[in-house]
């Protein structure tokens, strides 16, 4: 059985429940921002932080890191959105976050150890991988969906990022899943 996650919805739900559980009065804003209506004590803060850690959720302490996280969130939103964004990514990010692209770009490279451009490519290839494994769309359709000018362009970027072609990727994961199923079945057989 394979399941598909909506990470955004999942995280929001967990956060929502945890905030309630800790008795905090809050308002969930976009991009992982939480507005607390009442100040909380250091002890409450630490307890909440510790509890969230189990879910892989972290309270970001520094402003710079927070801004970089926002850039990442905007990129993910941009790449995974169903509707094509009519402007260039750089303009979109700058307008969305209200800073010049030059500033954001330098900050991002400093904190994230990669450029915004490379991070966008990485996210696009991740999305392409999901779509390839879903088996619902042809590579041509996937290329179109991800705003590539051609299949060749997608394939080249895929190969540059992962070192393998989309079809090799598909073959490897399919074989791997078959292998896993065999070992799960033989385990059941022996038990």
């Amino acid at each position: 059985m394979y399941v598909k996650f909506d990470f955004n919805a999942l995280c929001k739900k967990v956060l929502d429940e945890k905030l309630k559980e800790h008795g905090l009065k809050y308002h969930l804003l976009n991009f992982g921002e939480v507005e607390l209506y009442e100040p909380i004590t250091q002890e409450q803060h630490n307890l909440f932080k510790k509890n969230l850690k189990d879910y892989g959720i972290e309270i970001i302490e520094s402003q710079k890191t927070a801004l970089v996280q926002k850039i990442k969130d905007v990129i993910v939103e941009l790449v995974f959105s169903e509707n094509a964004v009519p402007v260039k990514a750089s303009i979109y990010i700058a307008e969305k976050l209200n800073h010049s692209y030059g500033y954001l770009s330098n900050l991002f490279s400093e904190v994230a150890y990669t450029s915004i451009e490379n991070f966008i490519i990485l996210q696009k290839i991740e999305y392409a991988k999901d779509l390839i494994l879903n088996n619902k769309q042809s590579l041509t359709e996937i290329a179109h969906k991800l705003n590539y000018s051609s299949v060749a362009h997608l394939s080249t970027q895929f190969k540059n990022t992962t070192g393998i072609t989309p079809s090799q990727f598909h073959k490897i994961i399919t074989k791997r899943r078959k292998n896993q199923n065999i070992s799960i079945n033989s385990k059941v057989l022996y038990e």
């Binding site: 990470f7 892989g56 972290e58 970001i60 890191t65 970089v68 996280q69 990442k72 994230a112 150890y113 990669t114 991070f119 990485l122 991740e126 991988k129 999901d130 494994l133 992962t162 070192g163 393998i164 090799q168 990727f169 073959k171 490897i172 994961i173 074989k175 791997r176 292998n179």
Partner: protein, 149 residues
Amino acid sequence: MNKEYLNVITVDDDEGNIIFFKNIFKDLKIGVKSQCFSYGDDLLKYLNSSGVIIPEVVFIKYNIPGKSWMECVREIKINPRFSNIVIAVYAGQISENEIEEIFVNGANIFMKKAETYEGLKKSLTEIITVNWQYHSSGLNKDNFIMKVG
């Protein structure tokens, strides 16, 4: 952005390789805390002990004596405690079929080991940088396949 560094383990019986890996990791911009073992058995013994730090990345030499790369990969993959570990296998010249076998068995990365120090540094830097992105942005490691060099 869970923390400021990656924990990395290298498994290689060649002392010279270990020194190269260690030096390269030390010079990277991304913080790496590295440990080394000579054999796969030592790696698994370490991972299976209680209270140890589970690394984010493990590098295993393809033709390691003793417990083979494949046994190491399988033992790591079967234990949910290790589900977060990215496994990289490296070798000199091996065939495309052998490389595919590495991926199919569950490793994430194949690195063709460069002959020169500079080449090795380039490959390892690329691998650590991408791993940092997977680690700090919570990307799906099940789909993480990468061939370098």
